[in-house]
């Protein structure tokens, strides 16, 4: 095998050394890894914050923190998880690393803008950290910053929402970069219907990033303006309507959940065919449903507001539209399962995690139907039921897709393989812990326990105790999973260019890839999930 220099050995721009080769890089692969380490930091921090919350909730009354700290901790947990992990992680890490390679390009269209996006991400995170230690403490409004409390509370709301604004800019510019890249840099011969599904998912996501993020940007600006100038735009005493804040906020934050899940689904769409040795079922269906989710998902925002006091007409309309969005989402689940049917299944950690994704996300999605129907939502709105629902979708969904992507693309990014057995154990432990952690919350919610409450009635204690227990298991599983990945750097078992038998272009280049990604002209398959070559090679090796 020819010794090709990997991108680690070849800085871009050329001539940079040491830390500058990373901090001033134009290479999408280096940027992806810089995002990876930052995201790991935020994820671990937010996981421990979440654990602290659940430890507090395990027993009635004060356990480990007073109520004001509790309010700030759940706000911080939400802000970090949503703006620093779930929204950016998959696009910024795997999108950056693999989208150009999957389309046969040598980088994104605007490499310097890409670098700038990373600095915006880091700066936003820094502001969030600073807001912990200045003023009257971290915001205690919940990550949704609802008025009037976000305007009147003395905590550091302005700094926190500014951090969110900056993170939004990073997200938006990344989306801009990816759209332009997909339109202009596909290798000759790769038509739209030959683009891998992960790239398609990033493309659909990018449009939502571009068009939805500015709404929350202006909304957060308005919160700051209200805090400083008290204009009254959301203050009923001055003619304002607080519900308009909620409308504006959810106009972004609902599409944001599709920014969160679409790339995750893209990863699953890559993994399932490879480990079923079978072409994805319904490629076009998945493409169309991805774009349909992006479009339709932007029209259902007020389903977060059924109990807010908005008109009955809008409750009805948004509930109806919400049910329509469920359809393209289900299309994907059917496609994945159909792909596996009569496939030749090869069990690996990425596949296990992808299967767990399907299981957990389906539960999350189905409970979404309970919430989408206005009648049932009224009973469980703002209860622990919602908390369970969005953790099933955002964590069981995007979180596990992130884990799956890590395990799938780890050998490609680093040229080394991890220990499978420990990966399995970690994955199973996280899942078991996850189920014991979040299922009790569904029940607690239906029994009437509100969310964001520091304390609760005695008959909720058992459920909360169980949930805490599950949480501890879950965190141990996550730690085990991450330690196993980190240990691969010590063991350094080398990985080949194509350890899995994949058909998309990233598996045709060395592990790790060279600076410009390709050593020879990329060969486009007529259909991106054509496994005939893979199967032929396997048969030849056997025989």
């Amino acid at each position: 095998m020819e010794q090709v220099k990997s991108f680690y050995e070849t800085p871009s721009p050329a001539g940079l050394t040491g830390i500058k080769a990373w901090l001033l890089t134009h290479d999408h692969k280096r940027l992806a890894l810089m995002y990876l380490w930052a995201v790991f930091f935020w994820l671990v921090l937010a996981v421990f914050l979440g654990m602290a919350l659940r430890l507090e909730l395990m027993f009635i009354g004060e356990t480990i923190m007073p109520p004001e700290i509790y309010n700030s901790i759940f706000t911080l947990h939400g802000v970090i998880m949503i703006f620093l992990f779930v929204i950016p992680a998959i696009p910024a890490i795997f999108g950056n690393f693999f989208l150009p390679i999957q389309i046969g390009a040598d980088d994104v269209f605007f490499p310097r803008l890409n670098l700038f996006s990373w600095y915006l991400y880091m700066f936003g995170g820094l502001l969030a950290v600073i807001s912990l230690f200045t003023g009257d403490g971290f915001a205690d409004t919940g990550w949704t910053f609802y008025v009037p409390f976000s305007v009147t509370t003395e905590t550091n709301v302005s700094l926190t929402v500014t951090a969110a604004f900056i993170l939004g800019m990073s997200s938006m510019l990344t989306g801009l970069n990816f759209v332009t890249t997909v339109h202009r840099m596909r290798v000759k011969g790769m038509g739209w219907l030959q683009i891998p599904l992960f790239t398609w998912s990033i493309y659909a996501t990018a449009w939502v990033q571009i068009l939805a993020t500015p709404v929350v940007s202006i909304t957060l600006v308005l919160v700051v303006l209200e805090r400083f100038l008290n204009i009254g735009l959301f203050d009923p005493a001055k003619g304002g309507d607080p519900l308009l804040y909620q409308h504006l906020f959810w106009m972004y934050s609902h599409p944001a959940v599709y920014i969160m899940i679409l790339p995750g689904m893209g990863i699953i769409s890559e993994i399932i065919p490879v480990f079923s040795r079978k072409a994805i079922f319904g490629y076009k269906g998945i493409v169309i449903s991805s774009m349909a989710i992006a479009v339709a998902g932007s029209l259902v925002w007020a389903h977060h507001m059924y109990t807010s006091g908005m008109s009955d007409v809008s409750v009805f309309v948004f509930s109806l539209l919400t049910y329509l969005v469920a359809i393209p989402t289900a299309v994907k689940v059917f496609s994945w399962v159909s792909t596996m049917y009569k496939g030749s299944i090869l069990m690996t950690p990425p596949l296990l995690l992808a299967l767990i994704f399907i299981y957990l996300f389906t539960i999350g999605g189905l409970t979404g139907l309970v919430l989408g129907a206005a009648g049932t939502d009224i009973h469980v709105h703002d209860t622990q039921f919602i908390v369970a629902h969005f953790h099933f979708t955002m964590f069981g969904g995007t979180g596990f897709a992130f884990f799956a992507g890590l395990h799938y693309w780890w050998p490609k990014m680093f040229g080394i393989m991890y220990d499978f057995k420990k990966a399995y154990i970690g994955s199973v432990l996280v899942t078991v812990g996850f189920i014991f952690h979040y299922i009790p919350m569904f029940i607690l919610g239906m029994q009437g326990m509100p969310r964001r409450y520091y304390d609760y009635l005695p008959h909720f204690e058992t459920g909360n105790f169980l949930a805490g227990f599950g949480g501890i298991l879950m965190v141990i599983g996550i730690m085990l999973m991450f330690i196993n990945l980190w240990a691969s750097f010590r063991v350094r078992e080398p990985a080949s260019a194509d350890p899995w038998g994949g058909t998309t272009l990233e598996w045709s280049v060395p592990s790790p890839p060279p600076l410009h990604n390709f050593v020879e002209e990329p060969k486009i398959l007529e259909y991106p999930y054509d496994f005939s070559g893979v199967l032929a090679r396997a048969a030849k090796n056997k025989g």
Partner: protein, 198 residues
Amino acid sequence: MEKAIDKTGVKIGMWIFLYSEVILFGGLFVLYAAYFHAFPEDFALGGKELNRIFGTANTLVLLISSFTVAASITAIQQRRKGLAIGLLVFSLLCGLTFLINKYFEWGAKFHHDLYPNSDRLLDSDPGFNIFFGLYYTITGLHGLHVIIGMVLLAISLVLVARNKISAERYAMLENSGLYWHLVDLIWIFVFPLFYLVL
């Protein structure tokens, strides 16, 4: 990289950025629409407080500056560097005129006790307060974008003078122009919604 610059790609990137700006202002227009529906008479009263002459003058100033910016691109394409510079200078002066007008307008409003949290606004009907809340927010954000646009045009001006922008390479000018036209577009809607409310 040895490849030639993909001008279309650069243009697509710029247009995408403009879309984000459209939606940014769009959020404020959502508020305007909802509040106009709630307070039509108060909005009309608020509109009467605004000076139509200033508003119309500012509208014409921006329209003319859009013309001169577009013309500066034609000039560059025709390799008429001097004309391009002249047109860009004129455009910048238009921007400055707009900002100066805005300064006087706001000043006049402050003088008449019409600013966020003024006694007069606090005492008047809620819709009247909202009208001015939106007025300051939208024209303020717009003014900020005028400044950003002027910075971009100024940078383009310098690059034209230094021959870094030429008939072969004028994407920077084109994209700065697009940004400037967006600023004009937003004002085209702000003007009737605030100054011509009946």
